[in-house]
């Protein structure tokens, strides 16, 4: 697969794996980490430096970032492994003494990330080195970095597991808010998203649509007023009132047509 793998035969590989296991047992409280930027956007580097700050303080766990690969036990590869950086990365890998733990850091380090199909991108550290731990995240937060280091050193347990769902029988998915007319629902959701962005807009629209599901105009009026009485954010009040306006308009139109 790679230039690195070709250096050893299977016997050396087995020996190296054994040494690595030993290393994990011995080294728990004195880990030297060397980071290699293989063409990243610097986001990962900033997060690494944020995670060695006193707020997260990995030195209480014995983790220290060093300036030379010759001192390193753990190599942290960030960036999508661009063509110009793959040879320096290889040199850093060779310079670190065996046994060593290789960590692919960040989405780019794991798989190339959003650059995975760019030209001159190899697509992650595992295309060149045998990687021990993947830390996804774009970039990983300092806490995720600490957790990843814990997994790399066998201190913490891995939480994520691969999943494979298979459909045995077709279960019908019910549309959300079935009692509200789709046109009205669309109008409310669009307005909420226009005003507050998709995430907050969706939450606000969902909350309002729940009122609509339960009652008629008077009941909704009462509920909105109850909600807004304790609301301190004037912006949210305005958004709710606008959504309510859409509903009352549609009700007026419906009754107007009916009468």
């Amino acid at each position: 697969m790679t230039t690195v793998e070709k250096d050893f035969g299977p016997r050396e590989h087995a020996k190296l794996a054994e040494m690595k296991e030993k290393l994990k047992k011995v080294i728990r409280r004195s880990v030297y980490v060397y980071r290699v930027d293989c063409g990243g956007c610097n986001g990962c580097e900033i997060e690494i430096f944020a995670s060695i700050s006193p707020v997260y303080d990995p030195e209480r766990l014995g983790i220290k970032v060093v300036a030379s690969p010759r001192h390193a036990d753990v190599l942290l590869f960030t960036g999508p492994m661009t063509r110009p950086m793959r040879l320096p990365a290889l040199r850093a890998y060779r310079a670190a003494p065996d046994p060593k733990i290789v960590v692919a850091y960040g989405t780019c380090g794991c798989s190339g990330g959003i650059f995975h199909d760019c030209y001159s991108v190899w697509g992650g550290a595992d295309k060149i080195f045998p990687v021990d731990v993947y830390i996804p995240g774009c970039p990983p937060t300092p806490a995720a970095t600490l957790y990843g280091m814990g997994v790399a050193l066998d201190i913490l347990q891995q939480k994520i597991k691969g999943a494979h769902h298979v459909e045995d029988e077709v279960v019908r998915v019910q549309p959300a808010h079935p009692n509200v007319h789709p046109d009205l629902r669309k109008g409310i959701e669009r307005e909420a998203r226009r005003l507050c962005g998709y995430l907050q807009g969706k939450q606000i629209a969902d909350k309002y649509l729940q009122f609509l599901e339960e009652g008629d105009l008077q009941a909704v009026d009462r509920k909105v007023k109850e909600l807004l009485k304790d609301e301190k954010d004037p912006r949210l009040v305005e958004v709710y009132l606008k959504l309510h306006q859409i509903f009352t308009d549609s009700m007026e139109r419906a009754t107007g047509n009916g009468g």
């Binding site: 959003i114 913490l156 891995q158």
Partner: protein, 184 residues
């Protein structure tokens, strides 16, 4: 010296106790996209929206399986999948502990069954998606008598629908042409 100690005691600890205590993330934190298999209709909107191609869709037309894949090692946690999902099957969670020792643990896969076209017999659309469309139509007020015929209409692939449409159009043209000739 004592002054400094006193100050330090007053200020307290700045370091979070993260690996020994769970960490509280801020509201709106975009962590691992959690997939709800029951809620998914395999429409593929998330795969289209995903800028990093972390979510991909594969169709196996021989076996009639549409498989939905996510690779968390490529996800950039932008939340576009959550934005476009019509049924709320995928949502970003505050979970950030994603480190894994193998690549397989970063993958999630879901297989959906496709429906055969009533006309040509080819697999063409996920059964769950058609059911969802039907459920929506029923909510708008599709009468129960029309459900069976609508289902029959839905279970025809777009190509066959087009072919039927052209056939009907040609027939009507032919008919109107004959009609005119007869009148002359």
């Amino acid at each position: 010296m004592f002054k400094l100690l006193k100050k330090a005691l007053q200020v307290g600890e700045a370091t979070v106790e993260y690996p020994f205590k769970p960490l509280e993330v801020s509201p709106g934190f975009r962590g691992k996209p959690v997939y709800n298999f029951e809620q998914c209709i395999a429409c593929g909107a998330c795969a289209l929206a995903c800028p990093a191609n972390a979510i991909t869709i594969e169709c196996n037309l021989d076996e009639g399986i549409k498989s939905w894949n996510i690779f968390y090692g490529r996800c950039i946690f932008c939340g576009r999948c959550e934005e476009v999902c019509p049924t709320g099957a995928i949502t970003l969670s505050p979970e950030f502990e994603l480190a894994a020792t193998t690549k397989e643990d970063l993958c999630c896969r879901a297989d959906f069954r496709l429906v055969r076209c009533r006309s040509c017999g080819e697999f063409f659309a996920p059964a769950k998606e058609l059911e969802y469309i039907l459920a929506n139509l029923e909510n708008i007020g599709l009468p129960e008598t029309a459900v069976a015929t609508t289902r029959q209409l839905l279970e025809v692939c777009p190509q066959c629908k087009r072919r039927r449409g052209t056939d009907a159009a040609i027939k009507s043209l032919y008919w109107s042409g004959n009609h005119k000739q007869g009148r002359k």
